[in-house]
């Protein structure tokens, strides 16, 4: 999992000798190389959110619409503090 295990070694290893100065490997996050899979997981999570919350909202509003409490019903719902 770990992309690097030794900071000193990492910061002194020249990965591109053709370029002036020491060029280190920039990526230091875990599981380098899996970015495509991470993106896929992210997109699935995002789309799933829309489906789950969208259907939940529609169901809740449909129930409330059937109950039809009226424009002033909320006034009896204000808690006394």
């Amino acid at each position: 999992m770990a992309t690097l295990t030794n900071w000193v070694e990492h910061l002194t290893t020249d990965v591109d000798p053709a370029t002036d100065g020491i060029q280190v490997a920039g990526e230091i996050y875990p599981m380098v190389g899996t970015e495509g899979w991470l993106l896929l997981i992210g997109i699935i999570f995002w789309l799933a959110w829309h489906f789950a919350t969208g259907s939940g909202e529609a169901e809740e509003q449909s129930k409330l619409a059937k109950k039809s409490p009226g424009p002033n019903a909320h006034k009896s719902n204000i808690p006394e503090w």
Binding site: I22, V24, E27, E35, G42, G54, P69, G70, N77
Partner: protein, 459 residues
């Protein structure tokens, strides 16, 4: 970074944008307070959650594709060749291409020791995206479903505003080259496009129940909590400082950039990489705020809601050219924008029965359009770029066409079409009975039961 001066410049720039993001967060806090203050008690919590949830939705989609669109689309594609790749196709490589800096599968879109700028620049643009979506959010309160708003927020926040930014707010954008489009602090690329988008949605969504009498006369559904509204707008002003800062590059050597041999000229620049000073821009920001407030107080006869909104509209009007205007020009331009926006708001409301709950279309859309048009006249003849003859000078016709593209083509039209699709699928508007009872009815009912149980409890 191996050289001390180089490191200082890079780390300063990194920290500069980081701070702009923190400041711009206040815009969103302000928008939330403002919207809740403008909504009625029975809709408060849903209003708050609607605006809040655009934060994660626009953020993740900005990571997935929004940032990529900005870097890929400056050529149109197919309208004007890139100065980097000399092709008019999508810009995918060449150093600043979409796949170089914004591919979500690239290692540069993460912590990378070889890059200190991409992430903070991505974040600064993301906060602009939140602003675009939040402008739309306020106009449509109390009757839209959260699902529909989520789709619309992603559309304006991660697609349409970023296309207009690629076209007109990028050093390689085709609108800058062919039209001489100039919009330093986003009168058009954020405000006009979001205002136009909101108007497109409102035209399909319809007014809140009770907004218009049977004879068509509009009724005032004023802000229910003026304190929240006023503090919210003060916070938006504050966050706007971060917005202005994020529209600049704080330190840049234009000598080598413009190919001037042996010349070193360090300066702050705008987004087009033409020089300005943060010092002068600060004066213009405050003078345009002042012009907006003065005009708003005058025209609305001291109405607090419109006076506060006019301060914002004033800044928005002057923003297109606030990198170059004289402060008194900024003040006058801001006043003109406020006058037009105020008059247009009530004319459109009466004529087309548009219920813009917070005046967002006026403050952002109309004021932004006016700002673009005025900028074309006041800055007529200024170079739109320092990159040579491929760029047209700033001119009135180019700015008028630019305003039409921002407000109409990338704003109103997509908003109207998407709202039509959502309406046709029955997902756009909440049921009538829910609107009458209040979106928070169930939450309040549950709170009442809890309250009763707690108050009658013996232990």
């Amino acid at each position: 970074m191996t050289d001390g001066l180089d490191a200082l410049t890079v780390i300063f720039t990194e920290f500069y944008y980081w701070i702009t993001v923190v400041l711009m967060f206040l815009i969103h806090v302000g928008f939330c307070m403002y919207e809740v203050g403008a909504s009625r008690y029975k809709h408060h919590q849903h209003t708050l959650m609607k605006n809040t949830m655009l934060i994660p939705l626009v953020t993740v989609t900005w990571f997935f594709f929004g940032w990529w669109i900005y870097w890929a689309f400056p050529t149109g594609p197919g309208i004007a060749p890139s100065i980097m790749t000399e092709s008019s196709g999508l810009i995918l490589g060449g150093g600043f291409g979409a796949n170089d800096v914004a591919n979500p599968m690239s290692s540069i879109m993460a912590i990378n020791l070889n890059d200190h700028i991409n992430g903070v620049f991505w974040a600064a643009f993301l906060l602009f995206s939140w602003t675009a979506a939040s402008i739309v959010s306020g106009a449509i309160i109390e009757r839209i479903t959260t699902f529909a708003f989520g789709i619309l927020a992603i559309a304006i926040g991660s697609v349409f505003w970023t296309i207009d930014a690629a076209w007109g707010w990028h050093f390689d954008g085709w609108m800058v080259k062919l039209l001489g489009y100039h919009d330093a602090y986003a009168s058009g690329v954020i405000h006009a496009v979001a205002g136009g988008f909101a108007l497109g949605v409102l035209a399909v969504l319809g007014p809140r129940i009770g907004k218009f009498s049977s004879s068509g006369e509009p009724r005032n559904i004023g802000p229910r909590n003026p304190w929240l509204v006023s503090i919210g707008l003060f916070l938006i002003y504050t966050g706007f400082w971060g917005f202005y800062a994020a529209c600049n590059i704080p330190i840049f050597d234009l000598g080598p950039e413009y190919g001037m041999e042996g010349v070193t000229f360090y300066t702050a620049t705008n987004i087009y990489i033409t020089p300005t000073t943060l010092s002068g821009v600060t004066m213009n920001f405050l003078m345009s705020l002042a012009g907006g407030l003065l005009a708003g107080y005058w025209i609305s006869k001291g109405d607090p809601f419109w006076t506060y909104s006019s301060g914002l509209a004033g800044i928005i009007t002057a923003s297109a050219g606030n990198d170059l205007y004289h402060p008194i020009q900024s003040m006058i331009i801001a006043s003109i924008g406020v006058w037009v926006a105020y008059k247009m708001h009530y004319w459109v409301e009466r004529k087309f029965k548009i219920d813009d709950a917070v005046g967002a279309v006026a403050v952002h859309g109309y004021a932004g359009v006016v700002g673009l048009v005025i900028c074309g006249f006041v800055l007529w003849g200024y170079p739109s770029s320092g990159y040579g003859d491929a760029y047209a000078a700033i001119n009135p016709m180019g700015m008028i066409i630019g305003a039409v593209i921002m407000f109409g083509v990338l704003g109103f039209l997509p908003g109207w079409i998407l709202a039509k699709i959502l309406h046709a699928s029955g997902k756009l508007r909440i049921p009538r009975a829910v609107e009458l009872a209040g979106l928070d009815y169930n939450i309040m009912e549950a709170a009442k039961k809890d309250e009763k149980a707690v108050s009658s409890a013996g232990r």
